[in-house]
Symmetry: C2
Subunit: 455 residues, 2 copies
């Protein structure tokens, strides 16, 4: 550790160097993630594991000696998968082929004993109307548009497909469909089904139809089988249930600003995850990196001028209740949120940031690019930030999202193989250091609000 | 496929877009790598697998319909590991703890029945002199300086440690050491020993001492045990042998230049690999990417002005005979090599290139940076290129190396876990497209030689 008086003399170059060094040599993020992933595991909102994760991260933040650590209550939905889903293709009675599926988050169960009927394949929501009720009624609709592999950003490819998952059931039911099977949002061909949220809109509970994701390998096979035998039957059984909302928490810790304590800088990720894997990339990584930001600032002896707050949001995956609650409370209290940064794109090698910012602040931030070049951080794009901090938008808050390399993200996203061994320690630590560096610069130089800068 | 007449009108932006699209949608690199890794496997020079790899890649290049495909004979060393190495720590007679080691490439065997004696730990070659013969004679020297984790480039960290592996035995024997154990060149703590080349210099064969790498986890354990009990004994047994040199081949294919056939642009990787894994990252990836460069140029209907040559070099790992032979033959024939690009840093997300170039050509290349930005290729640094193309240096040849993200490379380098499943298809394909794009631009705009540009 270096004394505060020495630190005060550091150039920005030296401060960033120290931040990266400490993250890579003495970082805590990987150890925290190991615990979250391997000792706790998948942390779906409303589950016991989610509550264990709240308790664990609160303890760890308290151990850092921050100025204040607290839990912010929030009511969250509670959906459970129940016993493992089961599905097969039946080409003639008794001749069956198993396929890998998982219920989509929020889906209803199949009828007792499962659902077996004919199937119709489409490439997207827009195909439903062309087919019409005559071809869809009484059948299962199979949404099979793959992610577009020639897009460089896999998030763009995800954005171009995920309407099938989110709205497939709500749209198909209008034409009399009795169930929905959706190709997993995965660019790889493999055997993992990928879950994720779906919604029924205003559809009454008794009209809802079950929806599941199928692995990409099985989607390919199923499509081939359907081409050969359009009359084949598809069977699936899932036992998911919705329970009444339960109370959970955002976990929050802060270092009080020495000069402008009322200017708040938030850094966070979401503590909940889907239930299939252990949520290491989505978003255990973002949580431990955000915790590490405060630890690195503290350990390096830097005294923030502004209040730096870590927020581990609950319920990003199937409700965004934590993000909404945090913004709501901030508004009630009249807090001045000058900047918020989210890490929710995996624990991969950091490439840069995306900024949701006015032109003036974006320009100021761009001037820091050379400071990041030694760390191969090149991407400073305008765009979105993160779902959890989105509700803070407005009133001059500058929002940002960490942008790690996206190529491998959807191999793991929402699937059984989103697990700790797929996170590289150095990549995680480089992400934490990159976030800390940005927060340091924002704290030191401030954000322009209206005409004034506090710097 | 797009017709040649249409292609001729393409802007550079459109040509690059087409290259990336084809690599990501219809690429062959991943399929080739699957075969090289899973159907052939580790391909140490002089082994049967190396010859199978020569035959396979020649066939595949022939199937591409290039203008010419041939084998360039080269004599290579033949070193074999023999039966698996065996090692333990003995804290008292009969009380033993197994550790994971592997012989370093080129090492001699231990005496029959193995070698068991006391051990002395050092942090590098420079410690030997200080200890002197009195503390070293008759013992095994344990080189245990770890790679420096706070360097952003893991290759820099490797460069700072690898002298222990390469020269440890040759230096320790001067003080009477009877064997050498070297901490694996790996930033992770895990159980894999990492092999790699070592040399004895001019030391006569009968004075050579055996050298092995130990896994990082076991290096840590061993260091702790030695601190507690400096008198403990270390046992290891390895059966490696050197055979007379054998004939092998560089595999070469080319598209003849339409306008300047005598200007040669070379792109390559090395076909040999260490024997422990299947050599997917080192350097199966570089081979299939280089093959893909010619395939993508051909498939896209682009007609190169210059001769584009793919070279799969033999024996990079323990001799560089292939690289030296290629340059030697080029010189004999008076060939004009204007540019050479090597991919030998793993099949990870490409970040850019390193150029070994005069200032004028480097400046010309830098002007293409904006073309690469949509593909997140930002790094255009001056520096080294690749070992195999190094011997081409001089006479105005501009050299370049692909620079993929380096964070995970040394987790796998020269170890049992350098295997196909650790290569991401998209990352590999993005690398191939990035290389193809550079070769396209070099071909189109030429290289300044002396005062003239042919463009």
């Amino acid at each position: 550790m270096i004394s505060t008086s020495l630190m005060a003399q550091k150039s920005d170059e030296d401060q960033l160097k120290e931040i990266y060094k400490q993250s890579l040599l003495n970082g805590k993020s990987y150890e925290w993630l190991d615990y979250l992933s391997n000792q706790i595991g998948g942390r779906l909102s409303g589950s016991l594991n989610a509550e264990r994760a709240v308790r664990y991260t609160k303890q760890e933040l308290e151990a850092l000696g921050l100025d204040r650590v607290w839990l912010q209550p929030v009511m969250v939905p509670k959906w459970t998968r129940g016993v493992k889903e089961y599905a097969y293709v039946e080409s003639e009675p008794g001749k069956t082929t198993s396929v890998n599926i998982c219920a989509l988050g929020g889906s209803v169960a199949t009828p007792d004993g499962g659902l077996k009927t004919e199937m119709v394949e489409v490439k997207g929501l827009e195909d439903l109307k062309a087919l019409g009720e005559s071809k869809i009624k009484g059948k299962i609709v199979f949404f099979n548009r793959p992610m577009q592999a020639d897009l460089i950003s896999t998030f763009a490819a995800y954005g171009g497909c995920v309407d099938q998952r989110y709205s497939g059931a709500a749209e198909a039911v209008k034409y009399g469909a009795v169930g929905v099977i959706v190709r997993s949002m995965n660019l790889r061909l493999d055997d993992y089904p990928h879950t994720g949220s779906m919604g029924y809109g205003e559809l009454p509970v008794d009209q809802r139809i079950p929806a599941a994701a199928i692995s990409t390998n099985d989607a390919e096979m199923l499509s081939t089988m359907l081409a050969l035998d359009p009359g084949l039957k598809f069977y699936f059984s899932q036992k998911c249930r919705v329970f009444p909302d339960v109370e959970s928490y955002n976990v929050i810790g802060e270092i009080k600003g020495s000069t402008y304590p009322n200017e708040i800088i938030t850094v966070g990720g979401h503590l909940d995850s889907w239930d299939l894997g252990d949520g290491s990339h989505d978003d255990g990584a973002g949580c431990v990196q955000s915790m590490e930001v405060l630890r690195l600032l503290k350990e390096s002896g830097y005294t923030p001028k502004r209040t730096i707050r870590v927020v581990l949001f609950m319920n990003e995956e199937n409700g965004l209740r934590g993000g909404n609650k945090y913004a709501e409370v901030a508004k009630e209290k009249g807090e001045n949120h000058v900047f918020a940064l989210e890490s929710d794109a995996g624990g991969f090698t950091p490439r840069g940031f995306s900024f949701d910012s006015d032109a003036k602040n974006y320009e100021r931030i761009l001037a820091w690019k050379p400071l990041f070049e030694p760390y191969l951080i090149h991407l400073f794009e305008k765009g979105g930030s993160g779902a959890d901090i989105g509700p803070l938008k407005g009133d001059g808050t500058v929002l940002a999202g960490l942008r790690p390399d996206s190529q491998r993200y959807f191999d793991h996203h929402h699937a059984e193989n989103d697990t700790f061994e797929h996170v590289n320690k150095r990549e995680l630590e480089l992400g934490a250091a990159t976030m800390t560096s940005l927060i340091y610069l924002i704290d030191k130089y401030g954000i322009v609000q209206g005409a004034k800068i506090k710097g």
